[in-house]
């Protein structure tokens, strides 16, 4: 899948590849050590820069899940 910025594409692909394998083979099997963190860091920096250039402000303050803002489906019965 594409990144929002072509400049970050290479970093995204490297990170995604690492993450997918880690998620399936490690995280879901109980490991809590995120071995892809260094790749995520450089990828995130690239995306952060791209968003700034494109005028998209969303880095903070958009959390909904797990907060009071999260909408919940009505309970049946």
């Amino acid at each position: 899948m594409e990144s929002i910025s072509p400049e970050c594409q290479g970093l995204k692909e490297k990170y995604d590849k690492c993450f997918n394998a880690w998620f399936r083979d490690k995280f879901l099997k109980g490991s809590r050590h995120d071995s892809c963190a260094p790749l995520l860091k450089s990828y995130q920096q690239c995306v952060k820069k791209a968003l700034k250039e494109q005028g998209i402000k969303l880095w903070e303050g958009h959390e909904t899940l797990g907060t009071d803002k999260e909408k919940r489906p009505p309970k049946n019965g």
Partner: protein
């Protein structure tokens, strides 16, 4: 505010569905998804994986709604948050658009867990809230959004299912289906073979008749 909800059953285990969630784009039904990026991700003290992603989608408002969109924005940004609990086997995803929220806001919550009736399968409870803050036309817009969401909800699950099939191969049900269709094909082929034989026989008989006549 309009509310929509549905349940979709995936014929795959929870581990397979969760493992494939990050790869569900692109699929044949996701041509409206332009990009996706990880904004933040960490493992919480509770052992859950917390992720926030930014997804860009094409903005397809009806012609009459376009005039309410400043500068005729062609795409919309969507924030997708998720919490995955590998011990309890639950995955909650929460998606909302961050641009054009006054025109139309859609918040979608999906909860994936092993199906109670069949733990080898995964149930996804999808809920969505659609709203518009525009005076006068707000009702029409949220109604449009609701209808579109309802139409696309099944398509989205089908797209995800397509990726699951590609990743993990066919499900036992699909294997049974394909075996059944193979049997039909074989029958058809046999029938064709018999038909060909009959044709050849008829031809040779006709030739024999011709030979005798000559």
């Amino acid at each position: 505010m309009k509310f929509f909800s549905c349940v979709h059953q995936f014929k795959f285990t929870w581990d397979q569905v969760a493992g494939c969630y990050w790869n569900r784009y692109p699929n044949p039904n996701s041509t409206h998804v332009l990009s996706e990026d990880v904004i933040s991700r960490h493992i919480g003290k509770d052992g859950c994986l917390y992720s926030t992603r930014l997804v860009t989608k094409t903005n397809s408002l009806p012609k009459w709604g376009e005039k309410f969109v400043p500068g005729g924005t062609k795409h919309v940004h969507v924030i997708e948050e998720s919490i995955i609990n590998p011990k309890k086997k639950t995955m909650i995803t929460y998606t909302k658009n961050i641009g054009l929220t006054k025109v139309m806001s859609i918040e979608e919550r999906c909860e994936y867990c092993p199906s109670e009736s069949n733990p080898a399968q995964t149930e996804c409870q999808k809920s969505a809230w659609i709203d518009s803050g525009l005076p006068a036309v707000g009702f029409a817009i949220s109604n449009f959004g609701y209808q579109r969401f309802k139409r696309n909800a099944a398509k989205a699950s089908e797209g995800f299912e397509f990726v699951l099939n590609t990743f993990y191969g066919v499900t036992p049900e699909a294997t049974a289906r394909s075996a059944a269709s193979k049997a039909v094909m074989l029958k058809k082929e046999k029938f064709k073979e018999t038909a060909e034989k009959a044709k050849d026989l008829a031809k040779s008989k006709a030739a024999a008749v011709l030979v005798t006549k000559a």
